[in-house]
């Protein structure tokens, strides 16, 4: 169990976290969601004890963090450089056991290697593996480590869609099998909804918890590939997007998300409607160039960026009904492709 009270963190004069309090129960998966630079990593550092120069109180398993760190540590998985490149896959995973001697704990290591599906790669060096495999090695080490807690800082951020989905599934299984308390940080809304029991949305710095969302039980049973098409998912996403847009200062978008019932729409339609609505209402009178800037800003803030690129590339989107000229659309496509 983790209990954080009135956490406050500053670097020199820059306050990055201001008054954050929360609790994480045993076996829970909790996600911190927020834009880049919202102090997510700083928060994790305070939580794990990597950074102890903060104000406030962190309690782990009922004792103060200081006391906890004397004997124990939280397992950690980061986005990159998560393994030692001079060690083999097996060596890196074995680190979690914290024992020396060649044959000790071999059974446990092999068991984990089986679970993370890296059989046959034991003797490989980590740099030889793909990004997804490397993250699995880090995950394996973290599971083997005899800690109740698993702290993950955007661990799947650099991976492709399918690898990511597989690892997310694996993480859920780990949570079920080992009953580890998992604190997860991401900026990906779908990932947060798929994985978590609860989501904390952080504001921009100085970060506070802008909203806490408790996910309904039904969504936790859904498969990652299926989840996008569930009504409850779309509703949750709108809710989160509304909060994020509000934090970005885009009041009108916040309002759309709040007032319109988008849950009946399929994914692409949902985007389309949202875009058309916005374009028609807001940007009729702007010059072309500014229209594009505004649209790009909208896309980014709504986190539908990738989907829009896909739609535009497959010409699924019909801009003619909006106020964008074909010329403007061409520039937009070019810009999106470049990003």
């Amino acid at each position: 169990m983790i209990k954080v009270e009135n956490l406050e963190k500053s670097f020199d004069n820059l306050k990055v976290i201001s008054d954050v309090s929360f609790e994480v129960g045993k076996g829970e998966i909790v996600t911190f969601l927020g834009p880049s630079g919202s102090g997510k990593t700083s928060l994790l550092n305070c939580l794990t004890g990597l950074d102890i120069e903060y104000k406030g109180r962190v309690e782990v398993n009922g004792v103060s963090q200081n006391e906890f760190l004397k004997t124990d540590r939280m397992a950690l998985v980061t986005q990159k450089y998560g393994n030692y490149p001079w060690m083999t896959v097996e060596g890196n995973i074995r680190l979690g056991l914290n024992v020396t001697g060649k044959d000790r704990g071999l059974e446990k290591v092999n068991d984990i290697i089986d679970k993370i599906e890296l059989k046959g790669f034991e003797r490989y060096f980590c740099d030889q593996l793909s990004g997804g495999m490397q993250q699995r090695v880090a995950l394996g080490r973290a599971i083997l480590q005899n800690s109740d807690f698993l702290v993950m800082d955007e661990p799947f951020g650099a991976l492709d869609y399918m690898t990511r989905a597989n690892l997310q599934k694996m993480l859920k299984e780990i949570n079920n099998n080992y009953r580890k308390t998992i604190v997860f940080v991401t900026h990906d809304i779908e990932e947060a909804i798929y994985l978590s029991d609860r989501i904390f949305i952080l504001s921009k710095i100085p970060a506070v918890i802008a909203k806490e969302i408790v996910l309904p039980r039904e969504i936790r049973e859904v498969h990652a590939a299926e989840i996008k098409y569930k009504k409850v998912f779309i509703k949750l996403r709108s809710e989160i997007e509304s909060v994020l847009a509000g934090l970005e200062g885009l009041k009108h978008i916040e309002k759309i998300f709040k007032t319109k019932d988008l849950s009946g729409l399929k994914d692409l339609d949902y985007c389309n409607t949202f875009l058309m609505d916005e374009c028609r209402r807001q940007y009729k009178n702007l010059p072309k160039k500014e229209q594009i800037e505004v649209l790009l800003k909208l896309l980014r803030s709504s986190n539908r960026h990738e989907v829009i690129i896909g739609m535009v590339l497959h010409q699924n989107i019909n801009y003619t009904s909006s106020n964008f000229s074909p010329e403007a659309v061409r520039i937009l496509i070019k810009k999106l492709q470049n990003e």
Binding site: P85, W86, Y124, D127
Partner: protein, 253 residues
């Protein structure tokens, strides 16, 4: 084509240089005082080994470099680790390291002779000063470049102080190996300077003596031997790199 084979290309270039050498000296394009002919060169080569015991000079030069370099390595590693572990040690030592690093070694010769006399210790001291401060700086820089994630892993696994140091050493080891290779090369440069001043043996001494008596072929032999030793020591360093740091050379999947 012959150029696809590394060794064949090398042999071809050797042959070409030999041919040019033979041609310019045989046709007297260059005076023999400046560039001896191949036959004069080989004559000087054999006579140096037979009459002067040149092998001893080579050995003593190699010994000076290896000994002085090893000494500076043995001291530089702990000093660099100390500077990376303690911010106070770093603040205390780094100004001096930076100051001494920029001094050209030859300007220290008068002082070194004053302190160590003209014996073997003076030469070792000169080589030591020439490499120690450079090595400290290079190792310290590498230590600073270790990704902070490596420390984070160590922290989350509750590593002891000693294990963290071991991790740091392993993290910088490939760069350290290369830095050793490079600083040993510098050591050879300083050796010549050391042996030109008040010396009774060594390759540099042989070159200096040859210069005194205008024995140009012997100068060339000395230079040639130095080049060959440098070449072989460099090859040795490079040969073992992929053997020791297998993870650096293995191909990706």
């Amino acid at each position: 084509m012959v150029f696809y084979d590394k060794n064949k290309t090398f042999l071809l270039s050797l042959l070409l240089i030999g041919l040019i050498w033979w041609a310019v000296t045989d046709f007297h394009l260059i005076d023999e005082l400046f560039l001896p002919s191949p036959s004069l060169f080989f004559e000087a080569f054999t006579s140096l080994f037979l009459s002067r015991d040149f092998g001893y000079d080579i050995l003593i030069s190699v010994w000076r470099v290896v000994f002085a370099w090893s000494l500076s390595f043995i001291f530089a590693v702990p000093v660099a680790f100390l500077m990376s572990n303690s911010i106070w040690a770093n603040r205390l030592l780094s100004p001096y390291v930076d100051f001494l690093r920029y001094l050209p070694v030859p300007v220290l010769i008068p002082l070194i002779i004053l302190f160590f006399g003209i014996g073997e210790s003076a030469k070792i001291a000169l080589l030591f000063i020439g490499t120690f401060f450079q090595l400290v700086l290079l190792i310290h820089d590498d230590l600073n470049d270790i990704p902070k994630e490596y420390y984070n892993i160590g922290f989350s696994l509750n590593f002891s102080f000693f294990r963290i140091q071991l991790m740091k050493f392993k993290a910088i080891a490939p760069n350290l190996w290369n830095n050793c290779r490079i600083t040993m090369g510098w050591c050879w440069t300083y050796l010549v300077i050391a042996e030109l001043v008040a010396s009774k043996a060594g390759i540099g001494y042989v070159i200096k003596e040859a210069q005194r008596f205008s024995k140009t072929p012997e100068i060339y032999v000395g230079i040639f031997i130095m080049g060959v030793i440098g070449f072989f020591s460099d090859t040795l360093w490079r040969f073992f790199y992929p053997k020791i740091f297998r993870y650096k050379s293995i191909k990706n999947l």
